[in-house]
């Protein structure tokens, strides 16, 4: 009986990693997306601390998001500081609008235009990599003592924030660990590190993202995600015509 048990344990420990590694790279990215953001309609808060050397600035946003692995709509509303209050950023599919209270009308902008500090519009409004990038497994590396799989993500279409991303995921859980974001020219723009694993809406998710400028490492932004709530958001909520209402 002992031998049978040993054989079963040996079989399971051999097969389990094989099963785990049998997951396709695209499926790994989908799991990592879920560890960053719950699917469906949610609202949450994002606090961004921008550091430039020793100086720091803080901004806060309320985000309403309705997403799946193939489609993602979100509305980002500035709530702090007071001088930026009322500014809104709307993403509907691949299209992006900016609303300024001093203009009182939505203005369409491109994904690459910045929101604040090291954070681009797409970093907050579009967190779904599985829908936008094709993944390829390129190797295994250890990051901060943690075994990781390294994926190369290539943009499926032009309406994305970055043309290429190197993505390190926890080899066991496929939670996101680190990312490197590249421009079309192949130049490294910035890196991201994911941490702050917490239970959020019934699953463990990463709630902290640190984005660093590739050329000036003293410039970094720390994004903290909190206050997640499931809500009902009709499609009309993500129409630019709702921004002024």
């Amino acid at each position: 009986m002992k031998n049978v048990t040993r054989a079963a344990i040996a079989l399971l420990t051999t097969i389990f990693p094989l099963v785990a590694s049998a997951i396709s790279p695209d499926e790994m990215v989908k799991r990592a997306d879920e560890a960053r953001m719950p699917e469906g309609a949610v609202t949450f808060l994002v606090t961004i601390k921008d550091f430039n050397g020793s100086t720091a600035r803080e901004s806060r946003y309320r985000v309403s998001s309705k997403g799946s692995s193939t489609d993602n709509n979100s509305l980002v509303e500035s709530i702090f500081p007071d001088r930026l209050k009322g500014r809104k950023l709307l993403m509907n599919g691949n299209d992006l609008w900016f609303y300024l209270p001093t203009v009182k009308r939505p203005t369409r902008i491109s994904f690459r235009e910045r929101l604040t500090g090291e954070v681009a519009n797409g970093d907050i409004s579009r967190t779904n990599f599985a829908g936008d990038y094709a993944a390829q497994l390129v190797g295994k590396e250890t990051f901060n003592g943690k075994p990781c799989v390294k994926l190369a993500l290539t943009a499926k279409h032009k309406d994305v924030t970055y043309s290429k991303i190197d993505y390190w995921l926890d080899a066991k859980t496929h939670f996101p660990v680190k990312s490197a974001f590249y421009a079309v020219s192949g130049k490294l723009l910035k890196t991201g590190e994911y941490s702050g694993l917490k239970p959020v809406l019934g699953a463990t998710r990463s709630t902290v993202l640190v984005i660093k400028d590739a050329l000036q490492p003293s410039r970094r932004s720390v994004l903290e995600f909190s206050g997640f709530k499931r809500v009902e958001l009709p499609d009309s909520f993500f129409n630019k015509e709702s921004l002024s209402e």
């Binding site: 702090f80 209050k85 209270p101 491109s110 206050g227 499609d235 009309s236 630019k240 209402e245």
Partner: protein, 428 residues
């Protein structure tokens, strides 16, 4: 919002607990307060005080637990430069522009599913391009201070009924204005009044209102649709022209004196706007047809108004692909369909470019250059904005009007100014 992390088991336990008494939801209040202090000096000619202005603008929003909300706003301002400089500014400017309290937005809003209904004093903004009011035709504008810095603050809210049906990628809007309001034009003797003829005494009679009558209604409709990345809108507005036509009456032969009496004429405006992203360049388009607009002409000593159709087209390209830079280039064309003898410029073109540079610590540099090729006059606006704290913003700016004295912008050369302002933002 509070951090709420519930494990699945905790959620079930919470659901099984006896319900506790729940307090009735209360309305929530939000307010925004902005206080501005600005000083400016003329840069050309007599280099004296151009503005010394303090203003406070508040907007209060009360959101009820039902689908209703109420919005009320007002602006109070005092301007000291005009009274301090009676040699430069007329009594009309001192009386009309030294202090005022303006009711801004004041409306009730009902949101029910895809429907939004707003009733009261409000702003409706159509159009896509930057800097100028081409398709922004619903609300009249306050043009007493020249080219407005904030388009919102120059817009005059109008009492109206505004109904919107909003879908996922389309919308339909209907507006009804029972009592029209009109542009506030620069006062005679002010920096931006350009109709003065040397040696002729002019009196402008512009009451900016019509007698209250149900016949004076205005109405408009606008539909929007997002199709394959192209954001389209089509609109129609039946209204009175926001700009008046003037009828000249000779009131004295020697010395020559005229009274210009404002007349209001009905127009109909139909238009299309579109935006699309093409290879990191955002393309914006606005085109309008204005039917029945009256044009004032002066021919063979006769002052008269002639009706014609006007076509306006604006094309803009914005590029934001470089980190911290934004570039915009805009060209506009304005043509009158019929030949009108005596009309100075039946076809007008304008070109403008805008560059925005984001600097460290959220500082922003902006430069706008607008050129009228036909008379080679131009307008240059430079601005530097530095957020000193979470609630305080410093702004340094310059508005330069360049060109010959008879040109469109050159006529305003003496109004060119440099300014410094502090803006305080509060909210809760």
């Amino acid at each position: 919002m509070q951090l709420i992390f519930l494990e699945p088991g905790a959620a079930a336990a919470q659901a099984l607990r006896a319900p506790s008494p729940v307090a009735a939801p209360r309305p929530t209040w939000q307010y925004k307060l902005r206080v501005d202090g600005e000083a400016g000096w003329h840069l050309f000619g007599q280099q004296d005080l151009a503005t010394h202005r303090y203003s406070a603008e508040i907007e209060q929003r009360m959101v009820f637990p039902s689908r209703w909300s109420l919005v009320a706003g007002g602006r109070a301002s005092v301007e000291g430069a005009y009274a301090l400089n009676p040699g430069r500014y007329s009594g009309a400017v001192v009386r009309d522009e030294s202090s005022e309290f303006l009711l801004r937005d004041l409306y009730a809003q009902l949101k029910d599913g895809p429907w939004v209904l707003k009733v009261g004093n409000q702003q409706v903004v159509w159009g896509e391009t930057f800097g100028f009011f081409y398709a922004d035709i619903v609300n009249p504008k306050d043009l007493r201070s020249g080219v407005p810095r904030d388009l919102e603050s120059a817009r005059i809210p109008v009492p109206m009924v505004n109904a919107k049906l909003i879908g996922g990628s389309s919308s339909l809007q209907l507006i009804y204005i029972p009592y029209p309001l009109f542009n506030r034009l620069p006062n005679q003797g002010g920096d931006f009044f350009t109709a003065q003829v040397p040696g002729v005494s002019l009196t402008v009679d512009d009451p900016r209102k019509l007698p209250f009558s149900f016949a004076n209604w205005e109405a408009g409709v606008r539909g929007t649709q997002l199709v394959g990345g192209v954001d389209l809108s089509v609109f129609y507005l039946r209204s009175f022209d926001r700009q008046p036509n003037f009828r000249a009456e000779l009131t004295s032969l020697s010395p020559p004196a005229y009274t210009l009496r404002a007349e209001r004429n009905r127009i109909q405006t139909a238009g299309i706007t579109a935006t699309m992203e093409v290879a990191s360049v955002l393309v914006r388009l606005e085109t309008l047809q204005v039917f029945g607009r009256q044009f004032d002409t002066f021919e063979s000593g006769q002052y008269r108004s002639v009706k014609s159709r006007e076509t306006i087209a604006v094309l803009e390209a914005d590029y934001g692909g470089l980190p911290n830079w934004r570039f915009a280039l805009q060209g506009s064309y304005d043509a009158i369909a019929d030949e009108i003898p005596g009309l100075l410029s039946p076809r007008r073109h304008a070109v403008s470019a805008q560059v925005t540079r984001n600097l460290a610590r959220e500082q922003v540099l902006e430069a706008l250059w607008a050129l009228i090729p036909s008379d080679k006059s131009s307008f240059v606006r430079l601005a530097y904005v530095n957020p000193l704290s979470n609630s305080l913003e410093l702004r340094l700016g310059a508005d330069l009007f360049l060109g010959k004295a008879a040109s469109q912008y050159g006529a305003l050369r003496e109004a060119s100014r440099g300014s410094i302002s502090l803006r305080v933002f509060l909210g809760g």
